[in-house]
Amino acid sequence: MGHSTLLWSVVSWLTFWGMLGGIVTPRIFSRKNLDVSRAGLAGATIGAATGPLGLLPLWYFGPRLRTSWNVLSSLFIMAMLAWGFALADPDNPCVSDGTFVASLLVNGLTMGIIYGFMALGLSLIFSILGVVSFAHGEFYMVGGMVVYFFTTTWFPGSHPLLGLAAACVITFAIGAVFECIFLQPMYRGKVERPVEYGILVTFGLAFFLQYFVQAVAGTNPVKARRFFDFPVLGIPSMADPWLIKTTQGSLMLFNAVSLSNPRLTAAAIALLMLGLLLLFLYHTWIGRALRAVSQDPQAAAVVGINPEIMNALAFALGGMLAGLSGATLVQAFSWVPQVGMLPTLRSFVIIVLGGLGSLPGAFLGGLMIGVIEAAATGCVPDPTRAAAYIPAYGMIVLTLVLLLKPTGFFGRQQ
């Protein structure tokens, strides 16, 4: 370690001025009868980034707060932290090795896309039904299992993309049937405590799916074959492939950043499906109806939308998105009936970070968690602890964001 005192000074500066700005700014704005809704976040970020230089004018003039100020301050905070870290630990690969950082970021983004895609389903269910599905990870697991058994047992030798389609159909059907039988009584007033009921009944589904698959498929880890083999290429030439070099199982960019075929394929499929989902939600009547129900179910019913059908569709679609995430990742990870537990927890972190019920928030949250987990694991100075804290990195960021913005990035105020 180099100048670790400097790093801790930076951290102390950020913490002190950030806390002072976050606590005092809303009070001053409130006393001046100004909008306080964004004052806490703006005070914290401007305070941490500039200290008294930014805070005193902010308190004195009380200007109208702009999002760009938060963004600029956040970037400045990150730059300060990076500078302090680089001085404190100059031998860290995150400081001394640019290709290492690029690899971490690309891998983090790739995983983030898939995390975001999975969390999108959970957010969709919450935004429309108001139910937090604890069975989300089990849909993810079922999706992967369907692809494996479809391509190896039910239709041996068939292309995994067909398995992917089967996974969509099966997880959609499970979601729709479950919603119709177990969740609809909630909206019809047949359940005394709907919130608790929603939690318990989705927990029940999670246990049922996990142990049902365990009983039917066994507990041995399985893995589907690669969906596609990359063509063996060298760009600009095979002799000197400095731009792109591919083997059947991996892709190398700039002779530095390596990406595995299964992850890249999974992320590409997730992006494609995300595009289709957005098209569906924003350019079809059913999609608009779904969004209408998420905003105001009663008003939607007035204009002829049946909220019960939309609820069933949302739950089925949410489950299908989780199933699809699992279906794309079964070629990258070993799959067991308990594989969904960690992704469920991660999805909860992501949707709270992005803002409960917000679809763009869920996707952005997924990207953030993917990059943070990758970067923190790669950069924590002590390699003997870096990987042991993977689930904690997301939690730390979630706590910080909730302190500054309790609704998450894109959450709606109730």
């Binding site: 690969p93 880890p221 075929n261 070993s334």
Partner: protein, 416 residues
């Protein structure tokens, strides 16, 4: 008349006392129940757990087919530890208090093993561990705890000695499970490797970790010459294949994989790019099998459809079979009698002739031995195998170390 009545009463009392005494002598709560511990759900090493369950059941079935024990049928009551200490505690409490087992065998992971051991000690129930390597388990010198598996420090010493003879190895990276199995094993390996002048770098991860991509990038940046995987279950498959995807897999760099790689079918399904992996095997190599090992393997293959029995299957088989042998020797299923019989036992099993030379009657410290040798089978054979063909079965893998068991030369892949 009164005299006769008194005599009859005394006779009945004597008969009752005699019956009770003979009941204790021959044990006799039928069936005799033996507990079996194994991880049968994730995050435990399910592949290993299922193999152990089948092996323990075979041991019990064989004894029942031969007429049972002390005139009773033997019943194996399985407990799923899931590889988690808290589960192991709950399972042991159930086995002892609800199922009334007289002894317990099996278990794969050390952390649940340590938890199970404490419960066994609390109730004085004998337990013979099959595949838990943690030195501290026997070092506690509990009268109830026995082990047929090797010591972690011995295994670490073996794999480190092998790593040290791999040409050109100056730096070893270890991916280590953050458990009572992983940590001590890695620390012991570090000591041996550093003594041999080899630099080490350790990357601990939580049990059940799925995505290793960032840590693999970090490991790659450390530029190791050899990688040792001290992670069990499907996590070891995930790591090995992801390392292969990143260009530091067994086909690019010498890699000593975890024992779950011995499950050939699961290994090749999950790690298609896993050729040239080295993997350690505990137990006598097939070419030196005794009659018990041959007979067990034949039954095991018929039962499971596998091409061979894994090392942990042999250990699980012996862990339960030795308990039944001890019950037979003790002529009782009383827990103290079983423990006494185990202390004196000389049992020929699938792992060879098993004895526990150091215990209450012959404490290790009186023999200048460390406490870890308490109730420890001192001579389990260990070999290093290497897959040298894609899809190869572990039984056909080449034994490359030690020289006494060697069946072929190792292939050392060149670092790219």
């Amino acid at each position: 008349m009164r005299k006769w009545k008194t005599l009859c009463f005394c006779a009945i009392i004597c008969a009752g006392v005699l019956a009770l005494w003979s009941h204790n002598l021959s044990a006799a709560d039928c069936p005799i129940k033996i507990g079996g511990l194994a991880p049968l759900s994730a995050p435990g090493a399910v592949t290993g757990g299922e193999a152990m369950r089948d092996a323990m059941q075979i041991a019990v079935d064989e004894v029942n087919a031969a007429g049972g024990l002390l005139g009773c049928r033997v019943q194996l009551v399985m407990g799923d530890t899931e590889g988690l200490p808290e589960k192991a505690t709950a399972v042991m409490e159930k086995l002892i208090n609800q199922d009334k087992v007289v002894a317990v065998g099996g278990e794969y992971h050390s952390s649940p093993g340590i938890a199970a051991m404490e419960v066994a000690h609390k109730y004085g129930i004998p337990i013979v561990f099959a595949e838990t390597w943690n030195d501290g388990m026997t070092a506690k010198k509990y009268p109830e705890v026995f082990r047929v598996a090797p010591l972690s420090s011995e295994v670490a010493d073996f794999q480190s000695r092998f790593a040290a003879i791999v040409p050109g190895v100056k730096k070893v990276a270890m991916i280590v499970e953050n458990t009572d199995f992983g940590r001590p094993n890695a620390e012991a390996s570090v000591k041996v490797l550093e003594k041999a002048g080899i630099q080490t770098v350790m990357f601990p991860v939580d049990i059940g970790t799925q995505d290793f991509s960032s840590i693999i990038q970090r490991m790659k940046a450390a530029q190791p010459d050899l990688i040792i995987v001290i992670v069990t279950g499907e996590a070891s498959y995930n790591f090995t294949q992801q390392a292969a995807d990143a260009g530091i897999g067994p086909e690019n760099l010498p890699m000593i994989c975890d024992q779950t790689a011995l499950e050939s079918k699961a290994y090749w399904t999950n790690v298609p790019a896993g050729n040239y992996a080295f993997v350690m095997r505990v137990g006598i190599p097939p070419q030196r099998f005794n009659d018990v090992a041959k007979s067990f393997e034949k039954t095991y293959m018929a039962k499971t459809g596998k091409k061979a029995a894994e090392s942990y299957a042999f250990e699980a088989y012996d862990s339960v079979r030795i308990l039944m042998y001890a019950i037979k020797e003790a002529k009782s299923s009383d827990k103290k009698a079983i423990i006494n019989a185990l202390e004196k036992i000389k049992y020929v099993g699938a792992l060879g002739t098993i004895t526990f030379p150091y215990g209450m009657n012959n404490p290790p410290d009186k023999n200048n031995k460390e406490d870890k040798w308490w109730h420890q089978f001192p001579e389990p054979a260990i070999t290093m195998l290497q897959y040298q063909k894609k899809g190869q079965d572990s039984t056909q893998a080449v034994v490359v170390y030690p020289t006494s068991y060697k069946t072929g030369e190792p292939v050392y892949v060149k670092k790219k």
